[in-house]
């Protein structure tokens, strides 16, 4: 039997480049090209593309981080450089995603510290970076300017643009040649609208990664899944305003009731299980970047993805079996 895994689709998911190596004017040891899909995930192997990528999330002020990670990683959380190195060398991730949680402090104004945090992570790893800027519109302009400037030439992925606040991040992307994460609240139309707004301000489509907003498994993930599925269908049907790679981070996975209230003996296992299954489901829905916070989730996810990729492309072989 022959299966046509292309379903007559005409669209292709656009490529986005993450990280710049020396040859491209940056200092990363690797860079990635993501996107390029022409059908649903795991049915094909796009050439020259590595995905889904696994990103490990860290932050510059661990006060705002999950106690589960604090328990597991210990003092590493207070050493941004060490944490970064561990993620790169020990945990074996593809990307580092830095949250500038320090900007959550009341009346935060230490822009120099923002620059230092980004520099620390840049100098501690050769992996491409995702940087999550401010959480406070008032300081967006300065924070993103600083992030953009510090990472100039490194082709960062900057987060997170929303319909109500995207100008600063777009400006940083334009001024210093970075890409942006465009987040919409589980809604295909708003996702498209934001991409159009970004395009109108001058951010090219190959500099945008869609964040459909990821609910945790059992806590709204089905909505995220549905939105992602529809975004991907529309893109494959030819809607270029939605034909971008997607990034998923189920940040609530570590705080859902089942994890929070779990017996301390199995709490770690519970957290990892929740992160793993949410991440895997997001990959099936089409995510190109999966973000996790627990180091133990990484090898599980890696193995599962490899298993699924092993079968990719078979069903569509011309002539069939």
């Amino acid at each position: 039997m022959t299966y046509d895994v292309n379903f007559g689709w005409t669209g292709t998911i656009g490529n986005v480049l993450l990280g710049a190596t020396k040859a491209d004017g940056g200092s990363r040891e690797v860079s990635y090209r993501i996107g390029g899909g022409t059908t649903l995930p795991f049915l094909e192997k796009p050439v020259g593309v590595k995905s889904p990528l696994i990103a490990f999330e860290i932050c510059d002020n661990p006060v705002y981080w999950s106690p589960i990670i604090r328990n597991y990683c210990g003092d590493l959380l207070d050493d941004l450089s060490g944490w970064t190195k561990a993620a790169d060398k020990q945990y074996g991730v593809d990307l580092i995603r830095l949250y500038l949680t320090s900007t959550k402090q009341r009346n935060f104004s230490e822009m120099a510290a923002v620059g230092r945090a980004v520099e620390t992570v840049l100098s501690s790893t050769g992996l491409p970076l995702v940087i999550e800027g401010s959480n406070e519109p008032r300081i967006d302009s300065e924070v993103f300017q600083k992030c953009g400037e510090t990472g100039q030439g490194e082709r960062l992925l900057l987060g997170t643009a929303e319909a109500s606040r995207y100008r600063s991040i777009a400006a940083a992307a334009l001024a210093y040649d970075h890409s942006v994460i465009a987040q919409s609240p589980i809604d295909i139309n708003l996702a498209k609208q934001l991409n159009i707004l970004l395009r109108e301000i001058g951010v090219r489509h190959d500099h945008i990664v869609i964040d459909p907003y990821t609910g945790t498994l059992g806590y709204g993930f089905e909505y995220s899944y549905s939105a992602m599925e529809r975004i991907r269908y529309s893109a494959l049907k030819g809607d270029v305003d939605l034909a971008m790679p997607m990034i998923c981070s189920a940040i609530d996975a570590l705080t859902v009731k089942e994890v929070r209230e779990a017996d301390p003996v199995i709490q770690d296992e519970m957290a990892v299980t929740w992160e793993f299954y949410t991440g895997l489901a997001a990959a099936v829905a089409g995510a190109e970047i999966l973000c996790v916070r627990h180091p133990k989730t990484i090898p599980m996810l890696r193995a599962a993805l490899e298993g699924m990729q092993a079968g990719a492309g078979r069903a569509g072989t011309a002539g069939g079996q």
Binding site: Q145, E149, R167, A172, L174, A175, N189, L190, G202, K237
Partner: protein, 676 residues
């Protein structure tokens, strides 16, 4: 007096002869864009006299190119301009500056050149530019005059002194050239894209004080090619410059270039938010009221020539709140004058409808109805906080400004509370209402080939597509064809898109090739065909917002309509809510259609099923609501008696009773072609 045209010609000659005298090589440091203007225009890297004259000739002896080369050579041989002047600005600073422009923390750029007679006018202009989030560059005598008067200069103050002579104004242009390449995706050498970018995206204006030399005039006038308005104060005549006075110069320049300051908060002593829209003000909470049959009141929005509208002006003619007795009914005329490059007379009624929303946004202001039927109340609570009539004007003006920035450049509001003066003004308004009615009434589907879609509800009904025509408003009743058209003009990538109806497939049901094609795409391939005037065949999809539902009753060979307000069971055996659940969510359900109430009055209503004679049942309340207009319509078509043949819940609640009633009145549907 300097004659701009003569000075320019002379100045261009002078620049031409000067560029020929350049001898030494030159270059700017801290830039990757060489001589930015020459580089952006031609893609050539100019560093020596030969290169300079080559680009100058290629660009048709452009004075900007000449000025750039001459100043670059001058800087290379004579050194950078001394403090506080910046001279040539580095790429790093430009990147930050461009960042602020994209980010919106700077709205636009201004260049000021020349010699103001005294510091006051110049300082006032600079202050206004600062207040309006413009980044201002200064070149020439204006700098020492400002610093002499104690005005602080520097990037932090958004006032940047480029250099001691107006010729340094060329840096203003090299900054924009670099912004275009860095942020605008302009490839160096792509002259036409550069010019388009400068004209359309670069929000730049030039303000000229007296005292420019001929060369300076040639330089400044050369910037017109980039689409920058050149605004001059005393001392210049002729040419294409805009001559104005110090008081209006910033506003005029910003208007010309379409730079708009966004209002963020409305400075009145009460809260304003859509959150307050639903609240009402009961009699005992009310301090004052206007209209509602108790006193004369009306509202009107008129388009005016820009010269007649002073933006932000609020005038109250007659007594204010503190001169009115608590609990009294007072006259109120709301007259809104608007002007805007993109404003059109057709938009007046649509914008006028927004007054209703805006007044209701006020925490303590309430508004119902429209035109000369309005009824407005102000609560005791906000009067105690200091609300005046003029604040209502301020609220309306600010909201229009916020919601229609592309459409309106200026808004002024006049509020008439004088009992004598309102009568004359009201009469004038009434004449305009009549004119408008005549204009809109005539519009029918045949007159245009462009309809509008509405996919606003796709957020919850993912495949739903409304097709809005002049004779068929959106099923929610809130968006007419004109609204759709305006919404598209205001937001070209929004939920209302034009649909070219294309080739006719079926005149009766209103099926068009173009409409089908659009609906197929907009419904993500779910709906292949969609008729505009039929309930039975490929009706439009239904989101869930429909004002009423039209559905077939095969037993009586007719179609009934039930509106949302009707709570009972209809002859179909189902209530409105049950029906709504069945057909909503973006599905196409033959035999059922979501409609607006006004559509019942349209000549296209039920056209596919043979016309309004198919209508067999409607709730009594809806019948009452439509009575006057529907009987008039029926009379026009020579069937005045038909209205009474439409049954309601008073004569039929079941299908059997309905049949009996229809037979007793000889309802025409009974003898029409079978529905199924």
């Amino acid at each position: 007096m300097t004659d701009v045209e003569l000075a320019k010609q002379n100045g261009e000659e002078l620049l031409k002869s000067k560029i020929a005298t350049i001898k030494n090589p030159f270059s700017y440091e801290e830039t990757a864009y060489h001589l930015p203007i020459s580089f952006a225009l031609t893609g050539l890297q100019v560093h020596d006299p030969e290169g300079a004259s080559d680009v100058f000739i290629r660009m048709g002896s452009n004075p900007l190119v000449a000025a750039e080369c001459i100043l670059a050579e001058g800087t290379a041989s004579g050194g950078k301009a001394p403090e506080p002047y910046t001279g040539f600005i580095s790429d790093t600073v430009i990147r930050k500056l461009g960042y602020s422009l994209v980010d919106g923390s700077i709205l636009g750029l201004a260049l000021i050149v020349g010699r103001p007679c005294g510091p006051d006018a110049a300082a006032a202009i600079c202050r206004e530019l600062q207040e309006k989030y413009m980044l201002t560059f200064l070149a020439g005598d204006v700098v020492p005059i400002l610093t002499g008067a104690g005005v602080k200069l520097g990037l932090d103050y958004r006032l940047i002194p480029l250099g001691p002579t107006p010729q340094y104004g060329i840096h203003f242009v090299d900054i924009i050239a670099r912004v275009a390449v860095m942020f605008g995706g302009v490839t160096p050498g792509d002259t036409s894209r550069l010019l388009t970018y400068a004209a359309e995206r670069a929000k730049a204006i030039v303000i000229v004080f007296p005292g420019l030399s001929d060369e300076d005039v040639a330089l400044v006038d050369g910037m017109r090619v980039l689409g920058f308005p050149i605004l001059s104060l005393d001392g210049y005549t002729g040419g294409e410059w805009i001559h104005t006075d110090a008081e209006n110069i910033v506003r005029t320049g910003m208007e010309k270039k379409g730079i708009r300051v966004n209002v963020v908060a409305i400075p009145i002593p009460m809260g304003c938010s859509p959150a307050f829209e639903g609240k009402s003000i009961r009699k005992e909470e009310m301090y004052l009221e206007f209209g509602g049959g108790r006193s004369p009141a009306f509202e009107i929005l008129r388009m005016r020539d820009p010269s007649e509208v002073k933006d932000g002006e609020i005038t109250v003619i007659g007594p204010e709140v503190d001169q009115m007795r608590e609990g009294s009914a007072n006259p109120l005329g709301i007259v809104i004058d608007v002007a805007g490059k993109n404003m059109r007379k057709d938009y007046e009624p649509v914008l006028e409808r927004r007054i209703h929303n805006f007044v209701n946004y006020g925490e303590g202001s309430w508004h119902v109805a429209q035109r000369d039927l309005i009824w407005v109340r102000i609560s005791k609570e906000v009067v105690a906080k200091g609300i005046k009539i003029k604040h209502i004007g301020k609220l309306i003006a600010s909201k229009f400004r916020m919601d229609f920035p592309q459409l309106l450049d200026a808004i002024s509001v006049t509020l008439i509370t004088d009992p004598e003066k309102i009568l004359a003004a009201k009469k004038e308004a009434e004449a305009i209402y009549e004119e408008r009615d005549a204009r809109i009434k005539g519009m029918c589907d045949k007159e245009t080939t462009t309809y509008y879609s509405c996919t606003l509800c796709q957020t919850f009904a993912p495949n739903h597509v409304c097709v809005i025509t002049p004779e068929r408003p959106a099923l929610c009743g809130a968006i007419s064809w004109l609204d759709g058209k305006i919404a598209y003009e205001i937001s070209p990538s929004g939920a209302n898109q034009p649909i070219e109806r294309g080739t006719l497939i079926n005149a009766e049901t209103g099926e068009f090739e173009g409409v089908n094609k659009f609906v197929r795409k907009a419904s993500h391939g779910e709906i292949d065909r969609c008729t505009l005037y039929s309930v039975m065949e490929y009706p439009m999809t239904c989101c869930g917002c429909f004002e009423a539902i039209a559905l077939m009753l095969p037993e009586v060979n007719g179609i009934m309509v039930v509106n949302r307000e009707f709570k009972g069971i209809t002859p179909s055996g189902m209530s409105f809510s049950t029906l709504a659940r069945t057909i909503g969510g973006g599905a196409q359900t033959p035999g059922f259609a979501g409609i607006s109430k006004n559509y019942i009055l349209s000549d296209r209503f039920l056209q596919g099923e043979g016309g309004i004679e198919r209508l067999v049942w409607m709730p009594a309340q809806l019948k009452e609501e439509l009575r006057r207009r529907l009987t008039q319509k029926l009379a026009e078509h020579g069937k005045p008696e038909f209205f009474e043949k439409i049954a309601d819940e008073n004569n039929a609640t079941t299908i059997e009773e309905l049949m009996t009633y229809l037979e007793s009145v000889h309802h025409p549907a009974l003898s029409m072609k079978p529905l199924m």
